[in-house]
Subunit: 193 residues, 2 copies
Amino acid sequence: MNGKKGLLLVLSGPSGTGKSTVIAGLMGLRDDIRFSVSATTRAPRPGEQDGRDYYFISREEFLDMIGRDAFLEHAEYVGNFYGTPAAPVEENMRAGFHVLLDIEVQGAAQVMAKRPDAVSVFLAPPSLEELEKRLRGRGTDDDERIARRLEAARRELAQADKYTYTVVNDDANEAARQLDAILTAELCRSDRR
Amino acid sequence: MNGKKGLLLVLSGPSGTGKSTVIAGLMGLRDDIRFSVSATTRAPRPGEQDGRDYYFISREEFLDMIGRDAFLEHAEYVGNFYGTPAAPVEENMRAGFHVLLDIEVQGAAQVMAKRPDAVSVFLAPPSLEELEKRLRGRGTDDDERIARRLEAARRELAQADKYTYTVVNDDANEAARQLDAILTAELCRSDRR
């Protein structure tokens, strides 16, 4: 912490790109980052904790927050609402922490429109072939699901140029190092001083 | 080297900011950087080597190169011309090296106008008080010269916001690390891919 306001870091990447490993690597490199916790109207699953995994709120509360423009982004997904409450993000940033939003491309577009000062990074697989190999290697998806994930990845990759940075996850440690460098460089920008 | 074109790195900073130490630190962190060698019409001093310290060329050659727009920047200083020939910079960048221009603010402004893709960094002292302390510590300048250097530094510092990045040289190793991070981050920019 240096008494300055933290950065808002928006990170997107197709399923299977290895985002969680890269994020874990980044957290190992610097201790001034906080995760953003999403709000949702879906019921908690066993083991999920309010305020850690999600803020579990009612549909009425969610709609009220939409009305008060209290989300950086929100979406409805199979009948439930999901969103990023702006207030905790702001609080952490004011306290000097960088806040990481791990978010899909539509949500990221909403955040970037609302917060042009956000640092946006697209995490890309080295290639679609490599992504397919990784998805098959996980052994959790059948052929049809893998085909759907690859189709989604293709659509998401076409959005990479909407992000200021693109980090190719060839090696998770190297990708984490690049994310770290991006934060360091952004803090040196003359227009942020 | 990764087969990609290198970056053009423009670095300015007032005399006494510790630029040479920071540059030496940066060269220790990465081996893919080359210095730009300036051309000049002044006579070589003892020990100076053509092509290493300067390209020593005639006034006619220099004027001819100006006419062919062969400089990234040039200036006249106490009767001699100084300039940055574009060709060796381009060659090194095409070979995948980042090229470092250590250059004062007027020259930097010319380069940035010609090469909007250049990465520009202003190296600043922590404060004018600290700069004065460092200049006095060197013991090479008398009071009048120090006063003139401080006045020049004040003018140059007012130009810092023309540079994309400002690195404060509080600690030379940390400043070198930030320059390294800036290069790494710039290579991740989606608009450079």
